[in-house]
Subunit: 142 residues, 2 copies
């Protein structure tokens, strides 16, 4: 198995932020590093050997936002177009979870904040597509 | 990005086999190589850099069964437990498609054949779990 010939996989996490049992929006981070440095993005990052994608989603959320995310039993699609990351061919699997508390940007995130779904700006990578996919899932799961 | 530290991803394909517009079963292959040498399994294999998971699913199906598979717009879950492949940590994403014609085992497949859903034996890896997931999807998609 030549790993150099197999794309790695990253996770994107839609973190529903709750306050007094009401959803206030989703958590976005400002990217500290290239590519898309300084742009808003979904929290996430690379899955490492030895962890499930779900574990990677919880770990990356914690590292970038300090929040403890409780994942729903929901996987969004695996995106695998070779050009979706300008660095290299990287797959991405989406997850949805919920968290409470104030997000604080750490690690690869310069900042973190809560954004109402009606006010999502242009995001890094294909993350706007991911947010639309989440919104469709949200309607269907009601 | 250290690829040595990121699991590669494989695809498993549920190929619905049709004859005279009637589904006769799904296609299984007999594995030519370890692990699970000689066992029945779903067709599939590793995604390579430069191809989408969907492209990998079509390519691997063709290589192992000679069939031209038309994928449905359906992704089954990404399985990512570190111990699901005895060789190394390998993710797997499932796909569902349909094909006609006689499957012939090639490449990594010693044999290929069509099995009615009521007669699926013990399969390699976690492929029985994948078949159950497909059956649930089949019920829901009706």
């Amino acid at each position: 198995m030549s790993h150099n010939n197999n794309p790695p996989t990253a996770v994107d996490v839609i973190i529903e932020h709750y306050e007094d049992n009401k959803m206030t929006g989703i958590v976005l981070v400002t990217r500290k590093n290239p590519p898309f440095q300084g742009m808003l993005a979904l929290p996430g990052g690379f899955q490492e050997v030895g962890e499930t994608l779900e574990e990677a989603a919880v770990r990356e959320s914690k590292e970038e936002t300090t929040l403890d995310v409780e994942l729903y039993d929901c996987q969004l699609r695996a995106y695998s177009e070779p050009d979706r990351d300008p660095r290299a061919h990287v797959n991405s699997v989406g997850f949805v979870g919920r968290a409470t508390g104030i997000p604080i940007g750490k690690d690869d995130a310069k900042k973190a904040g809560v954004f109402p779904l009606s006010q999502i700006p242009k995001l890094a990578f294909d993350h706007n597509k991911r947010v639309r996919e989440y919104e469709e899932w949200k309607v269907l799961s009601k």
